[in-house]
C-alpha cells in the first residue's frame, strides 16, 4: 500500500521551493540597475504596465489551477485514510483473458508496492456520480474554455493598446540617429549633425528619439531595457526604434540577437542629457580632431597612420579614413572601450591594442606588434582625441 508517509516524503522537499524563490526574487529585485521594470520612458513604462497586468492575471490563473489540482490530491489522501480504516469496497477489475502469468503475488520489486485490488474508481452512488459529472463539465467549460477566453480577450485588448502607444512611428521634433550593427560593436551616426561615434549614444532628455537600425554584416538586435523593447538590425533592411527618454542618466543596453563569437560583449550605452549638455556634446563631436601638440603625441599620430590602425579606423581631420572599425575622432571623450565593456583608461586601451582578444575574445581587431615607445606614443596620441 502506498502510504501517506511515502507521499509526504516528496511533498516536504518541494514545499520550501516557492519560499526560497520568492525570497531570492525580492532580494534581487532592486539590485539590477537596468531592468525592464524600471522604465525611463513612456514606452517602457507602458510595456511595464502590460507586464504587471499579465503578471497579476497570470499568477491568479496559476494559483486557481493549482487550487483545483489540490482538491483531488487532498481528497485522494483523505480517501486513502478512510480506506485504510474500513475494508475497501472495490470492484474487482475484470481480468484480462491471458491473465498475469507471472502472478501478482510472486512479484516483489522493492518499493513498487501495488498490492491493493485494482478497481475502477467511479463514484459509489448515483447522486455522487451526477455531482462529479457536473464538476467535471464545469471544469472543462468554465476552467478550460470560458475562463481563459475572457482573460485572453482582456489581454488582447491591453496588448493592442500598448502596441499602439509604443509603435515605432514618427513623432514631431524627433531626433533621428542611425545605429548600425557590426560584429561586434555599434556605429552611431547623427545625420542632422554629421557626427559619427560608436557604442555610446547621447540623446537629449524629453525629446522623441528615433533610431534607424541597419546592419553591415549579420543580424543583431538593439536593446536598451529601460527605454523600449528590442528591434533587430538586419542586413538589407531598415528598422525603426523610437522612444522618448524622460530621465537623465546612463542606461545600459546590449545586442540581443546571437551574432557570433563575441555576442556577449556587444554592449551599448545610452547617455540621456539635458538639452544644453547634449547640444554642447554634439558640437564638440562635430569638430575634427585637433592636431596633437606634444612631441610624443605627434609621434603617436604617425604610429597610428603607419602601423595599420588607420586601415580600419578613421580620425576626422587626418589621413586616417578607415571605415571598418569605430570612428576614433573623439575616442578620449568616450567612457568605455571595446563596445562598452571596459572603462576607457590608458591601461585598458593599451591591453586592447596589444592583445585585443584578452579584453574581448573574438573581437575583429588584430593584435599589434609595437615597441613600448611606440605604444606609449600611440596612447599619448589617442588620449588627445577628446
Amino acid at each position: 500500500m502506498t502510504s501517506p508517509t511515502i507521499r509526504r516524503r516528496w511533498v516536504r522537499p518541494a514545499l520550501p521551493v516557492p519560499a526560497v524563490l520568492m525570497a531570492a526574487m525580492t532580494s534581487a529585485c532592486t539590485s539590477a540597475p537596468d531592468r525592464t521594470t524600471a522604465p525611463a520612458s513612456p514606452q517602457a513604462s507602458d510595456i511595464d504596465g502590460l507586464w504587471t497586468l499579465s503578471l497579476w492575471l497570470g499568477t491568479a490563473v496559476w494559483l486557481a489551477v493549482m487550487a483545483l489540482l489540490a482538491v483531488p490530491l487532498l481528497r485522494s489522501r483523505r480517501q486513502r485514510r478512510q480506506d485504510a480504516d474500513a475494508s475497501p469496497e472495490t470492484h474487482e477489475r475484470p481480468t484480462s483473458s491471458n491473465g498475469d502469468e507471472h502472478g501478482r503475488s510472486g512479484w516483489a520489486a522493492p518499493g513498487a508496492v501495488i498490492d491493493e485490488p485494482i478497481a475502477a474508481a467511479e463514484p459509489d452512488t448515483r447522486a455522487a456520480a451526477q455531482a462529479d459529472e457536473r464538476v467535471r463539465s464545469r471544469l472543462l467549460w468554465i476552467g478550460g474554455i470560458i475562463g481563459p477566453a475572457v482573460i485572453l480577450l482582456l489581454l488582447l485588448v491591453a496588448s493592442g493598446r500598448v502596441g499602439a502607444s509604443t509603435a515605432h512611428i514618427e513623432r514631431p521634433g524627433e531626433l533621428v540617429i542611425d545605429v548600425t550593427g557590426h560584429m561586434f560593436w555599434w556605429e552611431v551616426h547623427y545625420p542632422d549633425h554629421d557626427v559619427t561615434t560608436a557604442n555610446e549614444i547621447h540623446v537629449p532628455v524629453d525629446r522623441p528619439v528615433r533610431l534607424r537600425l541597419h546592419s553591415e554584416d549579420v543580424i543583431h538586435s538593439f536593446w536598451i531595457p529601460r527605454m523600449h523593447g528590442k528591434i533587430d538590425t538586419i542586413p538589407g533592411q531598415e528598422n525603426w526604434l523610437s522612444f522618448e527618454p524622460t530621465e537623465t542618466g546612463t542606461f545600459r543596453g546590449a545586442c540581443a540577437e546571437f551574432c557570433g563569437i563575441a555576442h556577449a560583449q556587444m554592449v551599448a550605452w545610452l547617455e540621456v542629457q539635458p538639452e544644453e549638455d547634449f547640444d554642447a556634446w554634439i558640437e564638440q563631436q562635430a569638430a575634427d580632431a585637433a592636431p596633437p601638440e606634444a612631441d610624443s603625441a605627434q609621434l603617436g599620430e604617425r604610429v597610428f597612420i603607419e602601423a595599420g590602425c588607420a586601415a580600419c579606423h578613421a580620425v576626422r581631420g587626418t589621413e586616417a579614413i578607415g571605415g571598418v572599425g569605430p570612428d576614433l575622432t573623439h575616442l578620449a571623450s568616450r567612457q568605455t572601450l571595446a563596445s562598452g565593456i571596459v572603462p576607457n583608461d590608458r591601461e585598458h586601451l593599451e591591453e586592447l591594442i596589444i592583445d585585443p582578444w584578452a579584453v574581448k575574445p573574438g573581437i575583429r581587431m588584430p593584435p599589434t606588434q609595437l615597441s613600448s615607445e611606440e605604444i606609449e606614443a600611440l596612447l599619448d596620441y589617442l588620449e588627445t582625441l577628446e
Binding site: A32, R35, T36, A119, L139, M183, V218, I231, H263, A264
Partner: protein, 637 residues
C-alpha cells in the same frame, strides 16, 4: 470463447515467425516495431544525458560573473549542441520510440505497416546523430545556435565545416522523422484491432497521430531551408544574401514554419503519455475524452499559425504581428481544456501514487506556468522586451521540461515493464522525481527574473554589478540538483536491468489499454489470437476480446491464417479507416539489411558533400539508388 487448451505449437509457430533471425546479422536486420522502438528509446535516452551534461557545463560557466570555464567559442558550441541534441536527438526520437513501441500494441497490431521503413528511420537517426557528434572529432562543432540564423551561418561568416555538419546532420534527422511519421499515420489509419473505431483509439495514439501529421507538414520546409542554405554555402547561391537580392528573413520564416510546430510535436505525444498515466493512476476514463482528442487536433492545426511570434523584433508591421498574438492566444484554450480534463479525471480522488503519476502532477504544475508565460510573450510589446532574453529561456524550459521531459520520465517508469519486462524502483524513482522537480524550478524560475533584468540569451559571460550574480548562481545550483536527480534516474534504470532483477507482471498498474493485455515484455507476436475492442478501455470493459486466447477452429479462415502462420509469413490485418472492420491481410517483411545499407549510403553522400568531394558524393548517390532499388525489388528481403 475459446479455452487455452489448443496445442502450444501455435504460440511457438507465432513466436518463430515473428521472432528475429539468430545472430548478429539477425539483430542488425530486425525491423519489428518492438526492436526499433526500444532502440529509439534507449538511444535517445543516451542523448538526453549527453544534452543534460552540456547544459551543466553551460550553467557552470554562468555561475559567476566574468567566469572563464569554456570561453566564448566553447559556450557557443555548447548551447548549439544542447539545443540540437535535445530537440532533434532526444525529444522527437524518444517520442517516436514510444509511439513505435507502444502504439501498435495499444492498437492491437502485430507490427507497423512498413517495418523496413521503420528500421530505416532508426538507422538514419543513428547515422545523423553520429554525423553531428563527429563534428567534435573534427574540431568543427556547430556554433551558431540550433536556429542557425542567416547570414551568420552563410559561408562568409561561418567558413568552417561547423555549419555543414549541422545542416547535413539535421537533414538526416529530418528524413528519419518524416519516414517515422508516414509510418505512424498509416498505422493509425489502417492497423487497428477490429472494433477500434475512431472514438475508441487510445489518447496516446491520437496524440502520436496528430504529431505525425504535423511532422509531415512541418519538417519539409526545414529540409527546404537547410538545402537552400547548404547551396548558399557550397555552391555560392544567394537565397539568403541581402546584398545580392536574397532575404535573410526567408530563413527565419522557413525555420519557424518548422520550428513552432516542432514545439508542439514535442509536446503533443507527451500529453498523450501523461493522459495514459493519469487514466491508469485514477482508474477512470479521461474526463472529456472527446474534448481532449479534439483539443490535440486543434493544437496541431493552430500551431501552424504562430510562427511569426518568434519574429516580433524583425520589423514586421505591428498589425501583422498583432494577428499572431491573437493566434498564439488561441492555443491557450485547447491547452486549458486538456489541463482541466486531467484535473477532472483526478477529481474523484482515489489516485494511486506511482512515480509516473507524480511526474504528471509535476507536469500540470510546471506546464501551466510555462503556458502563462507563453501568453505573456505572445503579446507583441512585452515580447519586444522579453524576446531573446532569459525570460524566454525560462518560458520554453517550463513548457518543454514540464510538457515533454516530465511526461517522458513518467512514461519510462510507466512503460518500462512493457519495454523490457523490468520495473523501475519506486523509492529511487521518487527521490529522482523530487530532485528533478525541485532542481528544475530552482534552475529555471530565476531565469524569468534574469530576463527582465536585461540578461540576453546566448551570452557566455557577464560583468559584475548588473544584478545578475545571485540569480545565476541559484540557477546553476538548481541545475546541479536536477543533474543528481537524472543520475539517480539513470542508475535506477540500470539497476532494474541487472541480471536476475525481478520481472514485471503483464499488467502491473491495472491499466486500461491493450498493451497491458499481453506479457511483459511484449512477446514477438504481440497478441496470440482474435481481438475485438468494445470501448476506449478494453481491459476494463469486460467485453473486449484481448487477443490472449489461442486460435480456435471456429475462427474464420482469415483469422486462423493470421494466428497460425503455417506459411511462415508475417501477416497483419488491415482494417477500415473509420470503424476498424477487418478489411484485408497484408504480408509484412521481417528481416532486411537494406534499410541499414540505405542509411549508410545516405551518410556517405552527406560526407561527400561535407568534404567537398564530388567523387564520394557521386558514389553515395549511386549507392542510394542501388540500395533503394534492391530494397524495393520484389522478392528481395
Amino acid at each position: 470463447m475459446t479455452t487455452p487448451t489448443s496445442p502450444p505449437t501455435d504460440v511457438e509457430l507465432l513466436d518463430h515467425v515473428w521472432g528475429p533471425r539468430p545472430g548478429f546479422i539477425g539483430w542488425l536486420g530486425q525491423c519489428n516495431h518492438k526492436a526499433v522502438g526500444r532502440r529509439f528509446i534507449f538511444t535517445s535516452f543516451f542523448f538526453l544525458l549527453l544534452g543534460g551534461l552540456l547544459a551543466l557545463v553551460m550553467r557552470t560557466q554562468l555561475a559567476f560573473p566574468d567566469n572563464d570555464v569554456v570561453g566564448p567559442q566553447g559556450f557557443n558550441e555548447l548551447f548549439t549542441m544542447h539545443g540540437t541534441i535535445m530537440m532533434f536527438l532526444f525529444v522527437v526520437p524518444m517520442l517516436e520510440g514510444f509511439t513505435i513501441y507502444v502504439a501498435p500494441l495499444q492498437l492491437g497490431a502485430r507490427d507497423m505497416p512498413m517495418p523496413r521503413l521503420n528500421a530505416f528511420g532508426y538507422w538514419t537517426y543513428v547515422a545523423g546523430g553520429i554525423f553531428l557528434l563527429s563534428s567534435a572529432v573534427a574540431g568543427q562543432v556547430p556554433d551558431s545556435g540550433w536556429f542557425a540564423y542567416v547570414p551568420l551561418t552563410r559561408a562568409e561568416f561561418s567558413p568552417g565545416l561547423n555549419l555543414d555538419f549541422w545542416l547535413l546532420g539535421v537533414t538526416m534527422l529530418e528524413i528519419s522523422g518524416i519516414v517515422a511519421a508516414i509510418e505512424v499515420v498509416t498505422l493509425v489509419a489502417r492497423f487497428r484491432a477490429p472494433g477500434m473505431s475512431l472514438g475508441r483509439i487510445p489518447i496516446f495514439v491520437w496524440s502520436s497521430f496528430v504529431a505525425s501529421v504535423m511532422i509531415l507538414f512541418a519538417f519539409p520546409p526545414l529540409v527546404a531551408g537547410t538545402v537552400l542554405l547548404e547551396l548558399d554555402r557550397k555552391l555560392g547561391t544567394v537565397f539568403y544574401d541581402a546584398l545580392a537580392g536574397g532575404d535573410p528573413l526567408l530563413w527565419q520564416h522557413l525555420f519557424w514554419w518548422f520550428g513552432h510546430p516542432e514545439v508542439y510535436i514535442q509536446l503533443i505525444p507527451a500529453l498523450g503519455m501523461a493522459a495514459a498515466i493519469v487514466t491508469t493512476a485514477c482508474r477512470r476514463r479521461m474526463a472529456g475524452r472527446t474534448a481532449v482528442v479534439a483539443s490535440l487536433v486543434a493544437i496541431g492545426i493552430l500551431s501552424f499559425g504562430l510562427w511569426v511570434h518568434h519574429m516580433y523584433a524583425t520589423g514586421i508591421p505591428l498589425l501583422a504581428t498583432s494577428l499572431f498574438t491573437a493566434a498564439s492566444f488561441m492555443i491557450a484554450i485547447p491547452s486549458g481544456v486538456i489541463v482541466m480534463s486531467f484535473i477532472g479525471t483526478m477529481w474523484w480522488g482515489r489516485i494511486r501514487w506511482t512515480t509516473s503519476m507524480l511526474y504528471v502532477v509535476a507536469f500540470v504544475f510546471v506546464f501551466v506556468a510555462g503556458g502563462i508565460t507563453g501568453v505573456m510573450v505572445a503579446m507583441v510589446p512585452f515580447d519586444w522586451q522579453a524576446h531573446d532574453t532569459y525570460f524566454v529561456v525560462a518560458h520554453f524550459h517550463y513548457v518543454l521540461v514540464g510538457g515533454s521531459l516530465f511526461p517522458i520520465l513518467g512514461g519510462l517508469h510507466f512503460w518500462m515493464p512493457k519495454l523490457t519486462g523490468r520495473i523501475l524502483n519506486e523509492r529511487a524513482g521518487r527521490w529522482a522525481f523530487a530532485l528533478n522537480f525541485v532542481g528544475f524550478n530552482l534552475a529555471f524560475f530565476p531565469q524569468h527574473t534574469l530576463g527582465l533584468f536585461g540578461m540576453p540569451r546566448r551570452v557566455w559571460t557577464y560583468e559584475e554589478g548588473l544584478g545578475w550574480e545571485g540569480l545565476n548562481l541559484l540557477s546553476t545550483a538548481g541545475s546541479y540538483i536536477m543533474g543528481v536527480g537524472m543520475l539517480i534516474f539513470t542508475i535506477n534504470m540500470l539497476v532494474a536491468h541487472r541480471p536476475g532483477a525481478p520481472l514485471a507482471p503483464a499488467d502491473p498498474w491495472g491499466a486500461e489499454s491493450l498493451e497491458w493485455a499481453t506479457d511483459s515484455p511484449a512477446p514477438n507476436y504481440n497478441f496470440r489470437g482474435s481481438m475485438s475492442v468494445e470501448s476506449p478501455e478494453p481491459l476494463w470493459d469486460g467485453r473486449s476480446e484481448l487477443g490472449g486466447s489461442d486460435p480456435s477452429d471456429d475462427d474464420p479462415e482469415w483469422r486462423q491464417q493470421l494466428d497460425r502462420p503455417t506459411t511462415g509469413l508475417r501477416q497483419g490485418l488491415a482494417t477500415t479507416l473509420l470503424d476498424a472492420e477487418p478489411d484485408h491481410i497484408i504480408t509484412l517483411p521481417g528481416h532486411s539489411l537494406w534499410p541499414l545499407w540505405l542509411s549508410i549510403a545516405i551518410s556517405v553522400t552527406m560526407t561527400g558533400v561535407l568534404i567537398d568531394s564530388i567523387g564520394l558524393t557521386v558514389v553515395g548517390v549511386g549507392a542510394i539508388a542501388a540500395a533503394a532499388a534492391t530494397w524495393l525489388w520484389p522478392g528481395v528481403e
